[in-house]
Symmetry: D2
Subunit: 135 residues, 4 copies
C-alpha cells in the first residue's frame, strides 16, 4: 500500500494525546496491522524520567494487549513537532524489532509533513533478537 | 463501586493476550476509567529483557494514547498464573503514581481468584513525583 | 554502624558527577558494602528520556560489575538539590529489592543535610521478587 | 590504537561478574577512556525483567559516576557466551549514542574470540539525540 496522506493525518491526531509535561516534546505514533486495524500511540512521560514510555511502544503494546502477535503489523508512522524528522529511540527500535517484520516500513515525519522511510532492519543493524539468546 | 467478579473475569481475559515467550510468566491488567471505559493490558516481553513492558503499563499507555489524562482512572486490577498474589513491579508503581490518584485502589489477584487491595500511595511510600522535581 | 556525617559528605561528592542536562535535577548515591568498599553513583540522563539511568542504579551496577553479589550491601544513601528529601523512583526500588537485604537501610537526604531512613522492604511493600516468578 | 588481545581478555573477565539468574545469558563489557582508564561492566538482571540493566550501560554509568563526561571514551568491547557475535540492544545503543563519539568503535565478540567492529553511528542510523529535542 505504502505511505499516504491518511498516515500523516492520523499520526498527528495521535500526537495530540501525548502526555509530555516534562520535555514538552510531544510524539505520536500510528500503527497499522496487516488486517487493517489501527492504533494510536503517544508518549507518556514521568517525573522520574526513565519511567517514561514512548509513542511507538504505546501503540505496539496496545495492539498486543488486544491480541495481535509479532508479525501482524504492516507499518508504523511517527511524528514530532520539530523541523527534524522523527526518529525512534533505541528502546523503541528494540521493541519494534521484536514485534515487527524486518522489512516492515517505519515512516518518520516532522511538523511540516516531510517523510523519511526506513525498514526495521535498517534501523537496528545486527539487531539483537531471540535467536541470539541461543536458549 | 469496588471490586466485583467482573474485574476478575476481565483481567483473566487480558492476561491471555500476554506475549511472554522468555519468562512464560503471563500477566494481565484491567484498567477502568472514571467515565466507565475499560482497557486490557498484557505484558510484552523482549529478547533484550530490559526492553520488556508490563501489563499495567500497557493498559495505562493505551488509555493515555486515546486521550485519557492523569486522574481519570478508577481502579486497576492485575493477575498472574501463580498461587502468589500479583504485585506491580517498581517501574509500574512509578507509572501508576504519575497517572492515578493516590487513593485509587490496585486489586492484586492470583490464579485461584484471591484478591488483595492496596492504594497507589501504599504501594509507593514517599513516592517520587512531579512536585519533587521542584522545577 | 548507622548513618554518619561521612555518608552525607560522600553522597554530595557523588552527586557532583551527575550528567543531567535535560532535567538539571542532579542526584547522587553512595553505596557501602558489608566488607567496607564504597561506590559513588550519579544519574546519567539521555535525550531519549526513558533511556536515562538513576544514581542508585549506577552505584549498584558498578558494584555488581566488580564482583559484588546480592546481599553484599550495608546501606545506600541518596541526595538531591531540593528542600524535599530524596526518594528512590520505582525502578530503583525494584533494583534495590533484587540486590539488597529487605532490612537494609536507605538514607534519603536533601540539600540542607536532613535525613529520613527507611528499609528496602518499607519502600516496596508486597515487593515483586524472584520467588514470585515461581520458576 | 585499535582492538587487541587484551580487549578480549578483559571483557571476558568482566563477563564473569554478570548477575543473570533469569536468562543465564551472561554479558560483559569493557570500556576504555581516552585518558587510559578502564571499566568493567556486566549485566544485572531482575525478577521483574524490564528492570534488568545491560553490561554496556553498567560500564558507562560507572564511568560517568566517577566523573567522566560524554566524549571521553575511546572504545567499548562486548562479549557473550554464544557462537553469535554480541550485539548491543536498542537501549544500550541509545545510551552509547548519548555518551560516545559517533565514530567511536564498538567491538562485538563471541565465545570463541571472533570480533566484528562497527561505529556508534552505524549502530543507530538516524539516531535520536539532544539536537532533536530542539529545546
Amino acid at each position: 500500500m505504502g505511505y499516504t496522506e491518511k498516515h500523516y493525518t492520523e499520526v498527528r491526531k495521535a500526537q495530540q494525546k501525548a502526555y509530555a509535561p516534562y520535555s514538552q516534546f510531544k510524539v505520536g505514533a500510528y500503527l497499522i496491522t496487516k488486517d487493517g486495524q489501527t492504533f494510536h500511540g503517544a508518549n507518556v512521560e514521568n517525573a522520574a524520567y526513565p519511567s517514561s514510555i514512548c509513542a511507538e511502544r504505546s501503540a505496539l503494546v496496545a495492539a498486543i494487549s488486544q491480541g495481535y502477535r509479532p508479525g501482524d503489523f504492516e507499518s508504523i508512522t511517527i511524528t514530532v513537532d520539530s523541523p527534524e524528522l522523527a526518529s525512534p529511540c533505541g528502546p523503541c527500535r528494540q521493541v519494534i524489532k521484536e514485534l515487527c517484520d524486518d522489512d516492515m516500513p517505519v515512516y518518520m515525519t516532522n511538523q511540516t509533513g516531510e517523510m523519511r522511510e526506513a525498514t526495521v532492519a535498517e534501523l537496528l543493524p545486527y539487531g539483537f533478537s531471540g535467536k541470539d539468546l541461543d536458549l
